[in-house]
């Protein structure tokens, strides 16, 4: 029978988590720039600390403005809740630190943002957390890499920068067979292009710096829980299913059947690691979130026009965009990303490194910088910047060539972007002489 449903995505992008302010009537979400919140009484204070009542104590743990952002992202992702963090890197760290420690093991895709690769390959290894990297398309490799101490499988919805499409249904099935959750970095897709939880992922995070914000103004991250993973049944997560002396001897899975992960992540992770989001940042990202559906539609439309132009240009050796039949994940993208494959992609220039430099330096509208997902179009050379710590073998494993150039297509008029690229490609041609 037909019946009521929750509001649709575009409505949630504007309204989820926010209501007119009861104190002032303000319709837009107020910015609560305060470190802390006055207790009504000593009894009220104790009840907040004991988790007998819900409320705000200190803005490192929660804040009313930040909570609107968290609840809105959770709504857009179809999750049970979210935690805003200081950056996308902080969100990834929070996800791992909540359920893993020295002696733990992670299986991760090779196609990762360079910062994520650094964290897993070098920094977390220093703290006793080991990672096995597998090619995201090699489904058997995911399964074979799982060990008794594996706590997490991790990949990007669209791998950076080759846009490997993570086969979330298959990889999550492998994870679940082993009693392990799948974490997805959904930064490139945003929930408008793909909701990882509907495909089987258990946890997702974003660098909210990128498309969620859209304006290139602030750094932020957000970690979302689907609430679907049964931490207790898995048997691998005493962090959530056994009493925790660090917080009232709480057994998080008893406390919240579907929110155990977020409880510990907030009550331990934000409390102790402290990588929280500023309410000001949350407020700014909320302004962007309101137009996420409109912006993503335009990002994708512009990207398609630019991809079409580049794919036909004689100086371009190849364009790595999954909507092209030449991309190895073309069929998978049609299935998992029917709305489009985002607006960040790479292409390879024919010719010398000098021609590559000439191309980038000739661009006028595209800004040469280390970011993606801005409303303005951006360009970068990954091998010398975002992925510079990776050796040639690791670069090749991540699908990056020495001449690869990554574009992030913004919201300008697509014809102007094509004209800028055309002019820069001419400059690259001249540089061959």
């Amino acid at each position: 029978m037909p019946g009521p449903s929750d509001p649709a995505f575009d409505t949630l992008a504007l309204h989820a988590g926010a209501a007119p302010d009861p104190a002032t009537g303000a319709r837009a979400t107020p910015l609560h720039l305060t470190t802390s919140f006055v207790f009504e009484s000593s009894e009220h204070a104790a009840s907040l600390f004991n988790m007998e009542r819900a409320g705000h104590v200190y803005s490192r743990i929660s804040n009313p403005t930040t909570a609107v952002f968290e609840e809105r992202v959770a709504a857009l992702e179809g999750g049970v809740g979210a935690i805003a963090t200081a950056s996308g890197q902080a969100a990834l760290h929070l996800a791992i630190a909540t359920i893993a420690g020295a002696g733990s093991h992670i299986v991760a895709s090779t196609a990762l943002y360079g910062g994520s690769h650094n964290l897993l390959a070098y920094t977390l290894a220093r703290f006793g957390i080991e990672t096995t990297f597998v090619k995201p398309r090699d489904v058997d490799a995911w399964r074979d890499a799982i060990r008794p101490n594996t706590k997490l499988l991790f990949g990007e919805s669209l791998g950076n920068p080759g846009l490997d499409v993570l086969d979330i249904p298959r990889v999550s099935a492998i994870a679940h067979d082993a009693g392990v959750p799948l974490l997805v970095d959904a930064t490139f897709t945003t929930p408008w292009l793909q909701q990882p939880f509907k495909l089987g992922a258990d946890l997702a995070f974003h660098s909210a710096t990128k498309f969620l914000s859209g304006h290139g103004t602030v750094i932020g991250g957000v970690l979302v829980d689907s609430g679907a993973f049964d931490w207790e049944r898995s048997g691998r997560f005493p962090e959530l299913s056994a009493p925790y002396a660090g917080f009232h001897d709480m057994v998080f899975t008893e406390e919240s059947t579907v929110g155990a992960f977020l409880l510990r992540a907030r009550r331990e992770g934000l409390r102790d690691f402290g990588a929280c989001m500023s309410p000001h940042t949350a407020w700014l990202i909320l302004q962007g979130l309101e137009t996420l559906p409109l912006r993503m539609e335009r990002h994708v439309a512009n990207a398609r026009k630019v991809v079409q132009f580049l794919a036909a240009h004689p100086l371009v050796a190849g364009v790595g965009y999954p909507e092209l039949e030449s991309h190895p994940d073309h069929a998978l993208a049609r299935s998992l990303l029917p709305r489009g494959c985002g607006s960040v992609f790479s292409f390879d220039l024919r010719g010398s490194r000098r021609q590559g430099v000439a191309f980038i330096e000739a661009l006028q509208l595209f800004s040469h910088l280390a970011n993606v997902g801005d409303c303005r179009s951006l360009v970068i050379h990954p091998a010398s910047t975002t992925h510079f710590r990776m050796d040639d073998a690791a670069l090749a494993a991540a699908g990056i060539g020495p001449g690869s150039i990554r574009l992030s297509i913004g919201l300008e008029d697509a014809d102007d972007l094509v004209a800028d690229l055309k002019s820069a490609l001419k400059a690259a041609e001249r540089a061959a002489a």
């Binding site: 019946g3 009521p4 009542r53 929660s62 909570a67 999750g79 001897d249 579907v258």
Partner: protein, 266 residues
């Protein structure tokens, strides 16, 4: 804590405190396709204010073994047996939705054991439309989506539950899916049929001797306040009206705490 009730393992959340051997006791009974986790704030508050708390998982739900019991009457007998197993002679009975009917029936079957009755998001009769029953039978996921939409009256409940950053509709949906997926058979349809079939509410209310308190949501479309009027009259109950949908403990945790405190002082 785990108990053995009617030959099966049963679970009750004790509010973050060890269950003491004596003292006032409050039993919390959840609604259809839910479990104890809808009560954790209230349960923790009372447990930290001198009460013994038993927030149960009904048979076949969450951590309590099945089978799911076929009627409100059978669930009431099970609840009284659980109190026996916990060594509790007398308790306040606090139920939500289907659980409120279980509390009512238990208070009527053993009036001497009910120190008080609190019915939250309640109605009598608690009829379920044929169309929703059919959807619950044929397409439980769709029925869960419908009930979830029916149960929430807002897109922004503050301070949220169990705390800031929680998206209530997502949490409720995930919980119902978890309970349904872990159950033997179609527990959603089963629970709705249990609510729909309960025919002894008025007679039960006449047998209740303890003070009764109803907490209703003024925006509740599942169990609207008017549907509890007759019951309130027979029980001679005090009634708290709270601006909330059917998911009262989640949408309005502070207001529900204050209302329950009127009925059950710490």
């Amino acid at each position: 804590m785990k108990l053995q009730v009617q030959g099966h393992a049963a679970y009750a959340y004790t509010g973050g405190k060890a269950f003491a051997s004596d003292g006032p006791c409050i039993a919390f009974i959840h609604g259809a396709l839910n479990d104890h986790s809808v009560w954790t704030l209230l349960a923790r508050w009372y447990a930290h204010h001198g009460a013994r708390v038993l927030a149960v998982d009904l048979p076949g739900h969450g951590r309590s073994e099945g089978p799911a019991l076929p009627s409100v009457e059978a669930l009431a007998d099970w609840l009284l047996a659980l109190l026996d197993a916990a060594g509790v002679a007398r308790a306040h009975l606090v139920g939500h939705s289907m659980g409120s009917l279980v509390a009512l029936e238990a208070a009527s079957r053993a009036p001497e054991r009910a120190a008080g009755l609190v019915m939250i998001g309640t109605a009598y009769p608690m009829k379920v439309s044929d169309a929703l029953l059919a959807t619950a039978r044929d397409d439980p996921a769709r029925a869960i989506a419908m009930v979830n939409a029916f149960s929430h009256s807002t897109l922004a409940s503050k301070p949220s539950y169990p705390g800031p950053g929680a998206w209530l509709r997502g949490g409720s949906s995930a919980l119902m899916h978890r309970i349904q997926n872990d159950a033997d058979g179609n527990l959603f349809e089963h629970d709705f049929r249990v609510c729909d079939a309960y025919a002894g509410g008025i007679e039960a209310a006449r047998r209740v001797t303890c003070p009764a308190h109803l907490i209703v949501g003024t925006r509740d479309t599942m169990t609207p306040p008017r549907a509890a009027k007759e019951l309130a009259g027979v029980l001679d109950a005090t009634v708290s009206r709270i601006a909330s949908g059917h998911a009262l403990m989640q949408e309005a945790p502070e207001a529900v705490l204050n209302a329950v405190r009127e009925a059950i002082p710490a």
